[in-house]
């Protein structure tokens, strides 16, 4: 164990810091859950890509920097430490990207990865259906074969970013009459293809952060299928692993929030509840613990290991930490918690953050499901009874 960064790592940190300092948007961007903010964020993705910072761990041949996971963590620390914008293309770069690298053909890699790293195409994930949330194997949307095309019919929902994104990836039933996780295929589709209708759904904060998608005889070339026909479940599980595991939520985001929370507490200490002090210290401790754990997992992967069901522990931990931290901030703000904008005109990021944090325990597989996975696969408890 070696807790000091190497001179090379420090130089890299300095390079990231410098680039961010001279390239960050001057004003905070509008929320990416609204149309205007979405496009501002796309601009930011492209700027990142111009600096070659789109996806630092990817091979250089796809627009990455070929960096290792520790360097990725350093990048993320600088990114969140600088207060840089959320990543509008996270579904693409953190979820689909690694999945394509694992399951895609050379042709698919060339076709999809480079534009993804360049921020040219923004991706949405289309798994859930109205009748298939936690029970994802219950999906019904079909894709039947017609020559060298699939023809998709049905409906997806709660697809983040799909209100404005360019492309989607999803699971479709390619074998007629198949049940549960059999007969599904993982297919990439153009959200602007004829027959696709998007209905943006307003979320708790009032913005259309996700959308319902209707498919009416949508034709998709067979070469848009990732891995074999009928292998979709396996591929989707790999993607879900990326989602819960290392990449989706790097610790910097929570450490930055914990730091802001400490600052907020210092400002409001005079009328804070006695318990707030402990909650604030706990936010720091948990965000640090999450960071250490991520470093440990990164080191383990770099040494040839892998993460499995432990990803569920991660997902439970960061989502509940995020919610607790933002709840504490709401309490500290007192009456001002309700304001969308403070008197000085600055946005109430705590309120927006709190609302968003409520979704963390739901998306990427609800925390109840993650607890089931933990109990059954990690602890080896019996798979009987409810769930």
């Amino acid at each position: 164990m070696q807790l000091q960064y190497t001179p090379r790592q420090q130089a890299f940190r300095a390079e990231v810091r410098e680039w961010l300092a001279s390239n960050l948007p001057e004003k905070p961007l509008l929320t990416l859950e609204g149309e205007e903010g979405f496009h501002q964020h796309v601009e930011w993705e492209r700027k990142l890509a111009q600096g070659n910072w789109g996806m630092v761990t990817w091979p250089t041949s796809y627009g990455g920097r070929g960096l290792d996971l520790i360097e990725w963590l350093i990048f993320e620390e600088e990114y969140w430490g600088a207060g840089a914008p959320l990543r509008v293309n996270q579904n693409g770069i953190f979820l689909l990207g690694p999945t394509i690298m694992e399951y895609g053909t050379e042709e698919q890699k060339a076709r999809f990865l480079t534009p993804m790293a360049a921020g040219e195409k923004i991706w949405a994930q289309a798994w859930s259906e109205p009748g298939a949330g936690s029970d994802m194997a219950a999906i019904k949307t079909t894709a039947y074969r017609d020559g060298d095309h699939y023809v998709i019919n049905g409906q997806k929902t709660w697809s983040s970013r799909a209100s404005f994104a360019d492309w989607g990836f999803g699971l479709f039933r390619t074998e007629e009459g198949s049940q549960r996780h059999k007969g599904l295929s993982f297919i990439l589709f153009d959200l602007n293809a004829p027959g696709v209708t998007r209905r943006p759904i307003r979320q708790l904060h009032g913005n259309p952060g996700f959308a319902e998608l209707f498919f009416d005889e949508v034709r998709v070339p067979v070469e848009n299928r990732l891995a074999g026909e009928g292998e979709g479940w396996k591929v989707a599980m790999a993607t879900a692993g990326f989602e819960r595991g290392l990449m989706l939520r790097s610790p910097g985001r929570f450490q930055a929030a914990a730091k802001r929370l400490v600052e907020l507490f210092r400002k409001h200490e005079h009328n804070a509840a006695p318990s707030a002090r402990e909650a604030v210290a706990k936010a720091w401790m948990e965000s640090q613990a999450y960071a250490y754990n991520t470093y440990a997992v990164a080191a383990k992967i770099m040494a040839g290991g892998s993460i499995g069901a432990e990803a569920s522990l991660n997902k439970i931990f960061w989502s509940e930490l995020d919610r607790a931290m933002h709840r504490t901030a709401m309490h500290l703000l007192g009456a001002a918690a309700e304001l969308q904008q403070f008197a000085d005109g600055s946005a109430n990021d705590w309120l927006e953050g709190y609302i968003f944090s409520l979704s963390g325990p739901i998306y990427a597989g609800s925390n109840e499901i993650q607890r089931n996975i933990t109990a059954e696969r990690l602890l080896g408890m019996p798979r009987v009874g409810a769930g």
Binding site: M1, Q2, L3, Q4, Y5, T6, Q9, I70, L73, E76, E77, E78, G81, P251, R253, Q255, A256, A258, K259, V262, R266, R277, E278, V280, A281, W284, M285, E286, Q288, A289, Y290, A291, Y292, N293, Y295, A296, A299, K300, A303, E310, L313, N314, I316, F317, E368, Q370, R371, N372, T374, A375, L378, L379, G380, M381, P382, R383, V384, G385, A386, G387
Partner: protein, 310 residues
């Protein structure tokens, strides 16, 4: 930067685990509890494994290892609820003696003939003696009044708190394992109780608490070993995370065992009681929470994503 525990270190801990699982099972705890709680054969076995000399320099007959190794072994001692006070004497006192240059008797520590007592004024008593006036809830602890010259050295306190944290992690892991095992065997409503989600989720939460206490412990050990300026903060963090995990594990494990868990008949209580004792020893929750608080909220310890490590 490499936040990975070297495989050799894990192998050593694994060997200790194998040894203790063969020689220090629950039947030993029950026997010690019934017949008086020391057995020289157990101490002798630890000496033969070289464990008292783990941190004693090689030129004095020890293994010359570091705090991270000791933490890994202390965790195993917690896992098996080891009755002998190996951790406090060999992994708290020894590095403290070395730091003070008090190395005259270290060779005797390695041979097991001298068992130094680590006594810090923050504790009301120490755990390797027979005083008669003090009874711990943990039947395997032998409390004795602190000597008058008990130290108030903060380094000693950090060593003690670190090693208590390591044992707490091991205790919590063992309690989780026991609860999982019991949940598979005990049937109600025609199925193992471990099939019920309310039970699964309780134990999943223990697994989460442990997953995020362990790396904090590793970090604290390495920080103390390296003499990092903020080591005390990391130790306090570890003590809080470990004792919270241990309390959660104990309470959850009792609940999963039902009334059986409330009896002396299952072994669980040994672990739980040790956890209560160690959570308070070497600075309780209040002390460590205040140290974190002073550094993070009241102090100027640099925080935020760019300060994960110094």
């Amino acid at each position: 930067m490499d936040f990975l525990i070297a495989p050799e270190r894990l192998e050593l801990a694994e060997a200790v685990r194998d040894y203790l699982s063969g020689t220090h099972g629950p039947e030993v705890l029950r026997k010690l509890d019934a017949d008086g709680n020391r057995d020289t054969a157990i101490w002798q076995g630890l000496v033969e494994m070289g464990l008292p000399g783990l941190l004693v320099p090689e030129d004095q007959g020890g293994l010359g290892m570091g705090l991270l190794d000791a933490v890994l072994i202390a965790r195993e001692c917690g896992r098996f609820c080891l009755a002998e006070p190996l951790v406090e004497s060999a992994y708290v006192s020894v590095p403290w003696m070395i730091a003070r240059g008090d190395t005259g008797r270290l060779a005797e520590v390695a041979t097991g003939d001298f068992r130094p007592i680590a006594a810090h004024s923050i504790n009301g008593w120490h755990s390797d003696g027979e005083d008669g006036s003090l009874h711990s809830v943990d039947p395997l602890r032998n409390l004795a009044q602190l000597p008058d010259d008990a130290s108030d050295d903060p380094h000693l306190l950090d060593l003690g708190a670190l090693m208590a944290s390591a044992q707490l992690v091991g205790l919590a892991e063992a309690m989780l394992d026991q609860a999982v095992e019991y949940s598979k065997l005990r049937e109600q409503f025609g199925q193992p109780v471990g099939g019920f989600q309310a039970i699964k989720h309780k134990l999943a939460d223990v697994a989460v608490a442990l997953e995020f206490a362990r790396p904090v412990l590793w970090r604290a050990a390495q920080a103390l070993e390296d003499g990092e300026g903020s080591a005390a903060l990391h130790v306090s963090h570890a003590k809080l995370a470990a004792s919270d995990a241990a309390y959660l594990a104990g309470e959850s494990a009792i609940q999963v065992h039902g009334a059986m868990g409330y009896t002396y008949e299952v072994d669980l209580h040994f672990w739980m009681k040790r956890a209560w004792a160690l959570s308070g020893a070497w600075g309780g929750r209040g002390f460590h929470a205040r140290r974190v608080d002073d550094a993070i909220i009241g102090g100027d310890h640099p925080i935020g994503p760019q300060n994960t490590f110094a």
